[in-house]
């Protein structure tokens, strides 16, 4: 799992399919980091993406101003919201979390977590949303405080009902991932 410090610029990439909220999730993560007191940046790769086709977004977190606006090719942390985009040869340097609703048994290695992250958002929103992966990320990498995640979700979605539903998805995935990690440690 990643170290709990930001000596270097932390680089994160989120990949998923158009319509899964990949870009919004990236902005949410950078916003939560901003409330944590860091310099942060989120940026989508834009082009000919559309609903159902691969989309990716990048996040940088640092203790100093971030100057670059380049896409991130090899991130420290990689979040994959659709298992079809998972390539075992292309992993995050420190951590990779993959949503796969087809796995009955989750997989957990020191730098890889594969589990069904979409079950909660499918139940609440009737669709697979990438925000579930942030809950798992906060379990694996508890660097951003809960209050800052909530503040970011409130700012991002504004509408109270939407805020509440997203928070439910986030917390449920946090708890699910925490259980998986603890189970492995047992």
């Amino acid at each position: 799992m990643p170290n709990n410090n930001l000596i270097i610029t932390e680089t994160i990439k989120i990949v998923g399919l158009g319509g899964q909220g990949v870009v919004t999730t990236a902005a949410l993560l950078a916003r939560a980091a901003f409330h944590q007191g860091w310099w942060s940046q989120s940026m989508p790769f834009f082009g000919v993406e559309r609903t159902g086709t691969p989309v990716e977004a990048y996040i940088r977190l640092a203790h100093k101003p971030i100057h670059t606006h380049q896409p991130i090719e090899h991130p420290n942390i990689l979040l994959i919201n659709d298992h079809n985009l998972y390539n075992p040869k292309k992993l995050g340097r420190k951590l990779t979390i993959v949503n796969n609703p087809n796995v009955n048994l989750y997989q957990l290695k020191p730098t890889l977590l594969i589990y069904d992250s979409q079950q909660v958002s499918s139940f609440i929103f009737n669709k697979n949303l990438a925000i579930g992966l942030l809950g798992a990320l906060s379990a694996c990498w508890p660097l951003i405080e809960e209050k800052n995640w909530l503040k970011a979700i409130k700012e991002q979605f504004i509408n109270q009902e939407v805020v509440q539903k997203n928070w439910q998805v986030f917390i449920a995935n946090y708890e699910l991932a925490t259980k998986l990690i603890n189970k492995t440690h047992d």
Binding site: F34, S40, Q70
Partner: protein
């Protein structure tokens, strides 16, 4: 002090297009007209959202083309109200006729150009070819490195346009800045209007109908165009005084909220910003967001960072030849990065710099074209920085 600062400005996490829109809304233009084109659209969408939520008060006219959009703000500016529009790429080219009209009529308009490549082939990503196509039309042209600078330059653009009675184009790299989200310090309307009066003398009055920009015979036309040229060339004292006042008011507030030290942020001139040692061996000159990558790469090469300076051109028109020349004299090797090819000629920034060199200037200046159509290869920049200490 904290309360005073928070009344003057807010630290927020914003997308580039939202940050620009909120700054424009705080400048309080009365008329906005636009036609959508990516990557500019988000700016106008956010402005309209602010209007519908009654956080901004302006007349919004969605026109049938960019040519009409700029024509509408031209008419509004002639009536003496602050105006704004935004466009990109082909949209800017479609405006070309009106772009030339505005400085000739001495009308103040502020426009964002979310810089994007131009066809053919079709490409939606970022370079500087669109703005470079109209660089000699008589507009004041500003170029932002990051979202924070885009905010500041829009505020400055409204002030300069009204003081000089000239249109101002703020160039913001499309996608790289318009679609990125970052922490920013956003000036509040009250602070903005300490420097911005929004008082524009009208040239048209509906109660006393008359025309403007009328027909001119060759002799009069020639004289008027040369007079405009002379005015723009002689506008530096006004620009310099305006940027000094701007920085004196804004920089302390910004750095207090950012919690950064202005002393480590390089040297801010009137039209340029310099990062690096006092006497650099090599000087790299560039504009826009690529300066961010340059700063990072030079810092990573510790030896190079002791010898390399980066000069960011923030005001491109009028061209700050004297200011740039003062840096050219300090360095022995100069590299100019352009993001437009200059087809059939030299790349534009390189060409401008060469044109202002005095007789006998014998240092070699190298031209590099990087990132056309958005393809900024870090390896290319890295290669430049690695070879910078070798003889050019």
């Amino acid at each position: 002090m904290t309360k005073n600062i928070s009344n003057n400005a807010q630290k927020l996490f914003l997308k580039g297009s939202e940050a620009i829109a909120r700054t424009v809304a705080n400048c309080q233009p009365r008329v906005i007209a636009a036609y959508p084109i990516t990557p500019q659209t988000g700016i106008i969408e956010e402005l309209v959202r602010l209007k519908t939520q009654r956080q901004a008060n302006f007349s919004f006219i969605q026109t049938e083309s960019e040519h009409s959009a700029l024509s509408v703000v031209l008419g509004a500016a002639a009536m003496g109200v602050p105006t704004y529009t935004a466009t990109s790429s082909q949209g800017l080219l479609h405006m070309a006729e009106v772009i030339y009209n505005l400085p000739g009529l001495r009308l103040p308009v502020v426009m964002t150009c979310a810089n994007r490549s131009i066809s053919a082939p079709i490409n939606i990503w970022n370079d500087h070819q669109d703005a470079m196509a109209v660089r000699d039309a008589g507009w004041i042209m500003l170029w932002a490195e990051n979202i924070q600078e885009a905010i500041e330059q829009h505020w400055l653009a409204f002030i300069l346009s009204q003081k000089l009675r000239l249109p101002v184009m703020v160039n913001v790299d499309g996608f790289r800045l318009t679609h990125a989200s970052e922490p920013v310090i956003l000036p509040q309307a009250k602070l903005i209007h300490k420097l911005l009066t929004n008082k524009i003398k009208p040239v048209l009055d509906i109660n006393q109908p008359q025309t403007t920009g009328w027909f001119a015979l060759p002799e009069v036309y020639h004289r008027q165009r040369l007079s405009l040229r002379k005015f723009i060339a002689a506008s530096w004292p006004i620009i310099s005084q305006t940027t000094n006042n701007f920085n004196a008011l804004w920089e302390p507030i910004k750095h207090a909220l950012e919690n950064t030290n202005p002393a480590t942020a390089g040297y801010q001139g009137t039209a340029t910003h310099y990062y690096g040692p006092e006497k650099p061996d090599t000087l790299i000159i560039a504009m826009g967001s690529i300066v961010g990558e340059l700063r990072d790469i030079v810092q990573q090469h510790k030896i190079a960072s002791q010898k390399t300076g980066i000069l960011k051109v923030q005001i491109y028109r009028p061209f700050p030849g004297d200011e740039i020349l003062s840096y050219l004299n300090k360095a022995s090797k100069i590299i100019v990065i352009d993001r437009a090819p200059g087809l059939g000629a030299q790349p534009p920034l390189f060409s401008d710099i060469k044109s202002c060199l005095p007789a006998g200037y014998n240092k070699k200046i190298v031209s590099t074209i990087i990132g056309l159509g958005g393809d900024i290869k870090l390896k290319e920049i890295d290669k430049i920085t690695k070879t910078m200490n070798k003889k050019i």
